[in-house]
Symmetry: C5
Subunit: 353 residues, 5 copies
């Protein structure tokens, strides 16, 4: 089971806006990386003092602060202070159980989203929480667990011919969203592979199949719970008038939005497919069981009457005239055969055999 | 079963606005506590005469009247009169079966809500009704049962550095809502623990599991019935233009609203999870049963034919030539073995074994 | 089964607005009662000539015409003519199968609603149709079956201190609606009692329970079909601008509206509860059945092999060397015991016992 | 099964607006009847040349063209030309598989609807397609199959005191719609009768009941598929501003609309009822089966152990000391009785008997 | 299973707007055909250099570019450049897994849709992706797989009397949509034929039926997933104000829209039908099984007691006084018969036989 809850009751009785980390701690310390680029230059430094870094913000360059490790309230507070971010937002940045959403503030957009992938070792679905803040001239991403999600973006930043270098920070923001959504596709493919495996196993009526279907369905439910709010907030983003996103970037966000819709549609289709497969599986099992019970019913019904006859002539009464007749034995045998064969044809007529 | 109804038919035939207590009586007498604070001072007194206390209302301080025990129409009427509250509202304050809702009046906001928690002793879900009235310069809370829900708020009022002391009564109102919603989280956690317990028991196909699933589902239904109207009324509160809530407090109410949405989403997810577990449980039970019946079917089908043969040679006919043959006995034994083994392999081929 | 249809095909081929009584006839003749009151006086007379009574209408007093018995087209037509009511409305007044609704006409509001109660003798749900017409200065109620629904209103009219006496006919109209809705609560309580009874019977797996669940579900469906349109038309009434309802009465209608919502919510909750109980019931029955079959399977599987062995040594072959051995009998008995015990432990290991 | 499709693939590759008859052909040739009436006169003639008849149109009289037989493109085209009807409309008039809908054109309203009735001989549900065109000063109805649906309207036209004679063609149009909707009521009654029959048969667990439920459900699905679009198009008609329908006729159309809603509500109720009955039926069958299997299980379990004992003492070992004891036989009999009775009481205690 | 996904993860990490072919490759090379016609002339040429062909665009003639084979990014890019089409659109043109949709750009409309048909050989449902771009004075269609879908349109273009020749390119665009939608009808008919086949097989309780139902349901799900977005985008097209579609063509698009709605309604009806058939099938199977088990239960229950009696008198005790009585044997036989017959009538009374 994927749990959305983790230690959220830690916050009981605390005032709103209290910074407290909710969720598992994955990284030791906090790694803050500052990437700043213009059409011509790109600079990437590891930040030591977060309260200083906001000073290098300027209108002409794109500024991206990558924060890995969000369990330390002090650092988060420092970032919040230097970039003028509300404590209510910071509280949510530190809560990795937040469900995906967007919030518009006066001077920034706050987006909370999630990756969703199959862990390579356990083949179980996992998700990581990612918070993105888009300000006037900066983008900040927060994540607890380090992963190579943003590697391709960094490569494109380093490539001076890429479109990314020519655009503003709203384009970077959109590229980050696009990258996160792109990474859902392999997950969807893995799900489809699992469904195909189940489909090919369905007729073997393996007992484990039931559990696999159950687990896959859970994973798909969680997946759709992650995707659905994203569809909504991307739609909101398209109609937002915050001024933080330029008109021409809107087209690209629309593209991301279409991808999410495509993912949801395909997920829905797979879900109906799985439901169909489940029915098929249950009915295969029940068919097999029926066959076995039918076989028992036929055999038992055929033999019970004649076994009784054999029992009768096995009784030890002294006065059983039939016993001495020389044709009695063959006659009884023939009688038994006739009974059985008649019964059999009666069953056949009833289409039970 | 959680009952929403209690003695509500007591009111049959009475005109609207008649004050009558609907629900169980938990407290002896009525305890009224008046908390009044400004940035610098805080005063907490036990009120003797409710009709007097409204005199100490003033613009500069926050005034909170806590009423514990709502079964006495006289006291409720006095409070209503001195704070200018409609009788239709007072009628609902005294009805602990009201479902959560908000109502806007000319001079105040009336909110009816519910706590939801697991009783520590019986581990059964319980709820208490809480009414909150937000006026121009006062907040009144009504509850029948005393609990320590508001302890943390009182602590914060006593702490002169807390934000609460610096804000108006709309902030107090929001803090009360926030506290109530915060207390749903441990309930949700308890539900998730129960689901996990059921999940780990599912394969043991314990008979009690069925009842536990039933009960948990009921509890979740009641929970969502409590949460759902709150989502709606918080949304209404956000778009209300009563003038009782200041713009900057709206952000905090939005935060409470997000929590309720998060609770509902997680509850939904758990519900689907439970449904999945239920299916799994039913199919585990049915699998186990199938195994037992299959075993019977196989054993019976293998032995019935050869038992018949033994019966035949146990008959007492005088003329049964086979009986005197010295090889008849071993021949029959071999025949029986061959029949059984053939049948067994036939079953194997059919994949019934 | 509650039938919505009764003789409605009587109307086939007739033009719209033809007065014809659809439904059962409960009362002999038609009883028309005229109640007229002001703050100071109240007058209640039995009307002989319906075409005359409209003459006593005046602006200063509240006029209520109670019509009991709606099967006589002539009288209904006379009332319609003297109060200026459209034939399309009269047609619906006479049709007791109409589903609850509101219709606004130029000079009056037409409301069709239903009582819903458990018949005391048969304990079966019944409903009666009630039509209410609110005009400028009159209220007319139509019903076929006499009942004591409006007794409490008449008492309040006779009590010169009651609020009712001080208000206009729109308040009377609202009080009538409130009374009808109030009478749904005992029905809901009866439903909840029935559910509790079913709940306590569920584990006894009584066969009748299935039918009781079926019947209760039907009753709840009909109940919700009666309530749902009322929620809608009360909401319409709240936003209507017909001018027939004064602003201050609106608050009372809102109160009635809230009651209907509360009823619907509680009904929904009970419905889900009943569904849960049904599942529990079905699974209890299936569990019991499984136990019995398992017992058979175990006993049969344990005895079938050893009964076969007994059959073998009951055969009458002359050459069966074992038969003469003195230890053969105890050896076979021991062998049988060993077989049975091994099988039993095998079953135990498989957790079938 | 009711088929919506018939030969519709005939149209593959043809341009839009090509006239082709889709559906079964019921009538030989085409019968066109022209009915024209004013307050004082009425004239009914059989039209020979459709291209001529439009000449008798005038403002003062109501003109109704009844076309029976719509399989001949030539005649339909002629009508279309002389009344100025678009080819897209004519194409749909000729397609009897069109689902009910309304379409507004500049100079006319096109309504496509369906009758739904039980065929008297086969007791199976059938539907006929009817197209109605309301123009400025004419009404045209198209149908393939002749039926006596409009007989009552013709009678009213011939009755010079009827309201119909005093009104315009929009009132005729509304009367036609009303007549079609009125004829749904007997169908609904027939459905309710069938449900009652199923209800009374449910406990007899007749095998045919399953098929009857299936068939009735299909019929109800088709019925609601016919009704649902009518609800929508009548609502559209009410809010249409085509100018073809006068304000006072609107009230009558609203009445028809209410009937359709009433039909849909009742149909829904019956559907839920049928679902409940189906559950009841399935559980009755399963109960009966359980009883039979339980009986087998009890009998078999009681006799299997003692039959084994009898088998043991039927073995032919020479050294079986018990056999010679004079009390052995009664002792064994008593032992068997004790075993059986104990087992029986054990079953009783377990509540299996 | 129909897969929506194919190699879509190829795009992982690539920037938006990168041209990459997603889906299977069906055609060798790319075939581009240019059809240009006016009222008087028509010209059809095979295009060699796509970057040249846009030069022949002019206001007076209709220009249709048919592109078969969309796997070559270079050619697609050239077309995009010469017709001024955004790279985001081109990316989607090359992705054959896109779900149907419409997108409005400043200078063109982009429509993505799908054919859906049963493959003649395998009788399995297949779909092909088709992209259509409607510009000011051109229409471009893209498809990977060559088929004869547009043959009838080409014939109409060659026929100088056809309406198509007289209209603008928006009419051509509408005709293309109409042709695609028309080709869904044979698919629907094939589905209905399959349902009929299943219906006639239902009572034979063939095991394969379960799988056929499963497969057909999948196919219908995919079909509705293809149709549903088309309903939406046709509705959007009707209300679009792009200026690319003239008012009079709107009527024709509305016609196509109605066809899609008709298809969806009929599909829904068939789906409910199939669900009903599935229930019927399952209950037929279960009935048959019940019959067999009942037969076993009756036979076994009748014979088990008397077989036991026979066993008792087969015991070899020396002191069994009954054995020597001359009437014992007939008495026992009569006793057995009486027992069996009584049991049988008991079963009959219980309605088990």
């Amino acid at each position: 089971m994927l749990k959305f809850r983790k230690h959220s009751s830690k916050k009981l009785g605390l005032p709103q806006g209290t910074l407290i980390h909710v969720g598992d701690k994955y990284s030791e310390g906090t790694k803050v990386q500052q990437i700043q680029y213009t059409k011509n230059n790109t600079r990437q430094i590891s930040v030591e003092s977060v309260s200083e870094c906001s000073k290098s913000l300027d209108e002409s360059s794109v500024f991206w602060l990558q924060v890995i490790g969000i369990h330390d309230p002090k650092i988060i507070q420092q970032i919040g202070d230097s970039f003028d971010i509300s404590n209510l937002t910071l509280e949510e940045v530190m809560n990795t159980n937040q469900h995906p959403k967007i919030e518009e503030f006066q001077n920034y957009l706050y987006v909370n989203t999630r990756t969703y992938y199959f862990d390579k070792e356990s083949d179980k679905a996992r998700y990581d929480n990612i918070s993105i803040i888009l300000g006037k001239n900066f983008v900040i991403t927060f994540q607890e667990k380090e992963n190579n999600l943003f590697e391709s973006i960094q490569n494109r930043i380093n490539d001076k011919n890429s479109l990314l270098r020519k655009e503003k920070n709203d384009y970077l923001f959109c590229t980050i969203l696009d990258t996160i959504v792109d990474h859902y596709f392999p997950t969807l493919e893995r799900i489809e592979e699992k469904i195909e495996k189940i489909e090919s196993n369905v007729s073997s009526s393996d007992k484990k199949t039931q559990y696999e279907i159950y687990q896959l369905r859970q994973e798909m439910t969680v997946f759709s719970k992650i995707l659905r709010p994203q569809r909504e907030f991307l739609s909101m983003l398209l109609h937002s008038d915050s001024g933080l996103i330029e008109a021409k970037t809107s087209r690209n966000i629309h593209d991301v939005y279409e991808h999410v819709i495509h993912l949801l549609e395909t997920l829905d289709l797979n879900r109906e497919n799985l439901t169909g497969l489940h029915d098929l599986y249950l009915s295969t099992i029940s068919n097999r069981m029926n066959e076995v019970m039918k076989m028992l019913a036929i055999i038992a019904s055929l033999f019970i009457p004649i076994t009784f006859v054999a029992g009768v002539y096995g009784m030890n009464f002294q006065h059983m005239p039939e016993l001495s007749s020389p044709i009695a034995y063959p006659a009884v045998l023939v009688g038994m055969a006739v009974t059985t064969i008649s019964l059999f044809f009666y069953f056949k007529k009833k289409k039970w055999v």
